[in-house]
Amino acid sequence: MSAYADSVQDLIDAFARLPGIGPKSAQRIAFHLLKAEPEESRNLASAVTAARERTRFCERCFNISEETLCSICVDPKRDSDLLCVVEEPRDVVAVERTLEFRGRYHVLGGAIDHLQGVGPEQLRIKELLARVGPEETREVVICTNPNLEGEATALYLNRVLDVPGLIVSQIASGLPVGGDLEYADELTLGRALTGRRLIQGEST
């Protein structure tokens, strides 16, 4: 038996199903809305509905878009022969924030996860392979998460992107800026060493 009115309990349950929100936070958000002006709830509801109804996946890169093709895919200033492969649309946002990348994207919709049973056939990898030729891709930059699943996905992509003339690169994983060397784990420090860059002299 719930202590709340049914409609309130439904609201709490709906928030609790969202990623990163536990039962306590769900309760807090629900009661915040109930205490605030009705306007605030109406705005939230219409923002959710509008975003959900107006957006879809870009037909080319599977980023979230309001049109058939997303704003990045139709931007003529973007290098069309450079492709950055990411797991989720939010990773597109993260890479865009760096202002370092001027190519296009391909969103896989997840990562290979043996323990959850997510294999390559459940990701948009076929679609990626279908883009490389027609778009005359010169380089694919693999930008998956630096965790086990992202690593598995990068290894698989490297295996299937065996196309003559195509450059496949992977973002360097190294030490977080602002961290102390002595706290780095072995794998991260090892990667940072492997991916070191030359600052003087010639490479051997």
Binding site: H114, L115, V118, G119, L148, P176, G179, L187, G190
Partner: protein
């Protein structure tokens, strides 16, 4: 609440809230333990890659009243560098972890199971033989006391020339007793060797239709035992 140290293998992890993870551990002395690792998903986390599936670690844990303990320190015991940079090794390791996760229970210490897992992951890191997963599964079944019967018919107990594979009854069966699937005598003898004293020779076998056969036999038996499908093997076969 008291602090204690444990050697463990991370079996799997789940996302929790913004940046935390729940890690499912197979500790040597306490059996399966679930614990929270705070901030582990931030790229600057002090735990870094140490708490990912397959990591062999020494941990400091804080006991709690609930069923989730807290990871306060983590040091690597054996780094599995190759197992993270090679897709086949990575898949094989996952196949071992998945099976052990299914068989281990909270509150039931099983040091032997822990040692088998550590040994299996080490073999994958060192040389990753094609039969490593099958051999591990067969030895797990033996450890559970449910080795398949491979010598005589499960139905009548007779040793006959032609035996068929009938995992649902726990091994091989003769034609008159109901038969089963065709399986080559070579595959059966490799399976027998894995369970007997021939493990090292088995691990030297190159990839072939015979080793694939043995892997199917082993995984079918294990799936029947745990009453669910194994996910990692399916991903391996699709990638």
């Amino acid at each position: 609440m008291s602090l204690y140290r444990e050697v463990a293998v991370v079996l799997r992890t789940y996302k929790l809230a913004e940046a935390d993870r729940i890690v499912v551990l197979l500790t040597r002395e306490k059996g399966k333990v679930r614990a929270v690792a705070k901030g582990v998903r931030r790229t600057g986390s002090k735990f870094g890659s140490r708490l990912e599936p397959g990591s062999h670690v020494e941990l400091q844990l804080r006991e709690s009243r609930g069923d989730l303990e807290l990871v306060t320190q983590a040091e690597t015991v054996e780094p599995h560098v190759k197992s993270r940079s090679d897709l086949t090794r990575l898949g094989h390791s996952a196949a071992l972890l998945e099976a052990v996760d299914q068989l281990s229970q909270v509150g039931k210490p099983d040091p032997r199971l822990h040692d088998m897992l550590v040994g299996g992951l080490r073999v994958i890191e060192d040389r990753d033989p094609p039969l490593v997963v099958a051999a591990f599964y067969l030895r797990l079944l033996a450890h559970e006391g449910v080795s398949p019967e491979l010598d005589r018919c499960v139905g009548c107990g007779q040793v006959v020339e032609r035996l068929y594979w009938a995992p649902e009854v726990g091994g091989v069966r003769c034609g008159p007793c109901g038969g089963g699937r065709n399986v080559s005598p070579e595959s059966l003898s490799v399976t027998r060797a894995t369970l007997g004293g021939g493990l090292n020779a088995v691990l030297d076998l190159p990839d072939s239709s015979k080793t694939h056969d043995v892997e199917s036999l082993a995984s079918e038996m294990l799936e029947l035992h745990i009453e669910r499908r194994l996910k990692a093997l399916r991903v391996i076969h699709n990638s």
